[in-house]
């Protein structure tokens, strides 16, 4: 591009910047009332004789945190590093309180104009310390949930290999069905987390859409490059895409698991773990199916399993140690976008086979994939 072209492209940008400056300055129109302060209580931890509350300014003006309360009873408290929060800034409110395990608590935070914001915790449970032991526990849980089930699923490869081309296309379509389900599941979870935990000003649903869209497009680009350059390796390329997509999804699942464990919900996380483990075994089939026609793939298969499964451990750490609803929404949505993209990639691959997408094997496979995922998701 010549400098002239660049300049021509910049002119409208400069003009619109000028317009914004003018509107926010001398040319402003004041109508209605000033914006109201808004905060979000993002996290509540119950530690030794103290309740720790992470507060974020999610409104459009700066706020001052001036008071904390428990069950609507004012408590002396401290806010660190300080109570003045610019937009999107966070602070930790420490409320000393001899809380009782398993009792519900309403945590209140009052800002400078006297508005009180509240978050209800259904059952207080001691927050787990961020130490190596806890990291080990979370890693173990992530391994049970993500890594081992994926490898178990990969053990279907020798079985799939002995099948005819038509039957393989059944399993590939099954993979696409599994991934479609995963995509919807993650998207639903992202929207749920955003509705429950994010302030309206964060546009949670759109944050999910943008994250999912970007993930989809990024994988679209990468898979395009893979398939076009790899040639005979395109089966491996497709399998890799499936693993990357599943890996991103498992990161989101790991977040949920880590958050559940760190909130001390032991029974809940055991069930969550078992449910995810069953569910994730089917992901191994998804990776194995594209490799049905390939030769010796054992070493690569192991790497694929790690790529698909290990992010569950990372997610468990992130969810357990540094849970934030915003990052949860982003990661869950990324997992969703990735799953959809990989479903599309697999569907394209299947479409090249005999009968295309309309063959009974493909339709049956897709339907079976959806049904299997639904059933495994409700069994536990």
């Amino acid at each position: 591009m010549t400098p002239r072209v660049v300049a021509a492209g910049l002119v409208p940008l400069v003009l619109v910047a000028g317009l914004v400056v003018f509107i926010t300055g001398p040319g402003g129109i004041t109508a209605g009332i000033d914006p109201l302060p808004e905060i979000t209580i993002e996290r509540v931890d119950f530690v030794e004789s103290e309740v720790r509350v992470v507060v974020r300014n999610t409104g459009s003006i700066p706020v001052d945190i001036v008071q904390g309360d428990i069950n609507d009873r004012i408590q002396p408290s401290a806010v660190e590093p300080d109570g003045h929060l610019e937009r999107f800034e966070t602070a930790i409110l420490r409320i000393p309180y001899a809380w009782n395990e398993a009792e519900p608590y309403a945590i209140g935070v009052t800002v400078h104009d006297g508005t009180r914001f509240e978050r209800v915790v259904e059952a207080a449970a001691p927050a787990v310390p961020a130490d190596l032991e806890q990291a080990g526990l979370l890693a173990l849980a992530g391994t049970y949930m993500g890594v081992i089930p994926v490898f178990i699923g990969l053990a279907w490869l020798p079985f799939i290999r002995r099948l005819s081309q038509k039957r393989i296309s059944f399993f590939l379509a099954l993979t696409a069905g599994l991934l479609l389900f995963i995509g919807v599941d993650s998207a639903e979870e992202a929207l749920e987390v955003s509705a429950e935990n994010l302030a309206g000003s964060m546009n949670g649903a759109l944050l999910a859409l943008v994250s999912a869209g970007c993930a989809f497009l990024a994988l679209q680009y990468v898979s395009g490059r893979l398939v076009s350059t790899a040639g005979s390796g395109s089966a491996m390329g497709a399998a890799l895409m499936v693993s990357v997509g599943i890996g991103l999804h498992n990161f989101g699942e790991g977040l949920a698991l880590g958050a559940a464990i760190s909130l001390g919900s032991a029974v809940f996380s055991t069930y969550l773990l078992a449910g995810f483990a069953m569910h994730n075994t089917t992901e191994g089939i998804a990776i194995a199916s594209p490799l049905a026609g390939q030769g010796r793939v054992a070493r690569r298969l192991a790497a694929l399993g790690v790529i698909a499964g290990f992010p569950a451990v990372l997610g468990a750490w992130a969810g357990g140690f540094a849970y934030s609803p915003i990052s949860s929404v982003v990661f869950l949505a990324v997992g969703s976008g990735a799953a959809f993209q990989v479903a599309v990639t697999v569907a394209r691959w299947v479409a090249r086979g005999p009968g295309g997408l309309a063959s009974p094997y493909v339709c049956g496979g897709l339907a079976a994939g959806l049904v299997i995922m639904y059933v495994t998701s409700i069994v536990l």
């Binding site: 004789s49 103290e50 001052d64 945190i65 001036v66 008071q67 904390g68 609507d72 009873r73 004012i74 408590q75 002396p76 408290s77 401290a78 806010v79 660190e80 590093p81 300080d82 109570g83 602070a91 930790i92 409110l93 420490r94 000393p96 309180y97 001899a98 009052t110 400078h112 104009d113 006297g114 508005t115 009180r116 990291a135 990468v222 490059r225 893979l226 350059t229 790899a230 390796g233 491996m236 390329g237 890799l240 990357v244 890996g247 690569r300 790497a303 694929l304 790690v306 790529i307 290990f310 992010p311 990372l314 750490w317 992130a318 140690f321 540094a322």
Partner: protein, 336 residues
């Protein structure tokens, strides 16, 4: 891009994330502050202390000054009667720090919530030049005996300098509230347009250490529930600044309940009992107790003498209110 390279990139990225997630963040040394919880624990913090008890000295309204301040008016004689003249100005544009850091639009008589304590002797003429400098209609409605046109209900005083002169003979003996009576009434009261009117019997009451306590509350987020309660506006104030009284000396508290939204309020005294005179209209107490229950604008006189020196709590035994600020202490001085 070859699959092998992609795999390598993925594995390296995961390893890097691994390190990022597990590494502790940077720490910086900051000076620590301390505060004491309601249950006595000492807590250190590197941040700001949020505690109405310990940071309240900066608020604009001074409950200590209000406590023992009685306005007897500009006194003159007309036809053998004592006339007490007052000028009361209503405003509705003030924003006051009613608890540390909490800014609320108070509506005021003479700039404070509660308004000035108007005090006269039974039979005195009370003449009040009322000026409404607010942006809404306001009035002054006194509880007590007076002609209909002095009731402050139908004689609406317009905003921006509207005036009205209230004139009536003080009576009956007792402690009464006054407040704005413009609709919507609840709104005008909860924003702070109220005060105390004391009518002394001719010859006065026995000498005592006298004080006024208006039991009030503030709904700072307009959800129909009070966020703060207090004796004399500022939550927890007298807990941090004990009211000093003398051992063996008669103490007389004129207590008026102006709390809205909650059907009742009450007054519990520690280490002692008080003689209670409902509305202060009778010279014989109705109760010897440490607990009276007060509905809206219900009020009375409490008289007590402390036998032992030390610090004694008084508070609403509807403890929700005391945990939101309606709590204080008497410091009984035994040295004299």
């Amino acid at each position: 891009m070859r699959p092998r390279i992609m795999m390598a990139i993925s594995v390296v990225a995961m390893a890097a994330l691994c390190v990022a997630v597990l590494l502790p963040g940077p720490t910086t040394a900051v000076t620590e502050k301390r505060f004491i919880t309601h249950s006595g624990a000492v807590i250190s913090t590197t941040g700001e202390v949020l505690d109405p008890l310990y940071t309240v000295s900066t608020v604009e309204f001074d409950p200590d000054e209000y406590l023992r301040n009685f306005e007897y008016g500009r006194v003159s004689q007309e036809g053998g009667q004592t006339v007490r003249e007052y000028t009361i100005i209503a405003r509705d544009d003030q924003v006051q720090e009613i608890s540390p850091g909490v800014f609320y639009n108070v509506w005021t008589y003479n700039g404070t919530v509660p308004g000035p304590t108007i005090r006269a002797t039974e039979g005195d003429i009370v003449r009040i030049q009322f000026i409404n400098q607010g942006s809404k209609q306001h009035t002054m409605h006194f509880h007590g005996i007076h002609p209909a046109e002095m009731d402050g209900v139908f004689e609406i005083v317009g905003p921006g300098g509207g005036q009205f002169t209230y004139e009536f003979e003080a009576g009956p003996v007792g402690v009464h509230p006054y407040h704005c009576h413009v609709m919507p009434l609840e709104e005008h009261i909860v924003h702070g347009l109220y005060g105390v009117f004391i009518v002394d019997p001719v010859g006065g009451r026995p000498a005592a250490d006298e004080m006024v306590m208006v039991l009030n509350g503030f709904d700072t987020d307009f959800d129909g529930e009070n966020n703060f309660y207090a004796a004399n506006t500022v939550p927890f104030y007298y807990q941090h600044h004990p009211i000093r009284i003398q051992q063996g000396e008669l103490v007389r508290v004129y207590a008026v309940n102006m709390v809205e939204f909650d059907p009742i309020n009450n007054f519990h005294l520690h280490g002692n009992l008080y003689y209670y005179y409902p509305t202060g209209t009778d010279t014989v107490p109705s109760h010897y107790t440490d607990m009276v229950t007060l509905s809206q604008t219900e009020r009375g006189i409490l008289e007590f003498v402390y036998q032992y020196p030390g610090q004694y709590v008084f508070h609403a035994h509807k403890v929700e209110f005391s945990e939101k600020g309606w709590v204080g202490t008497f410091l009984v001085d035994g040295s004299s």
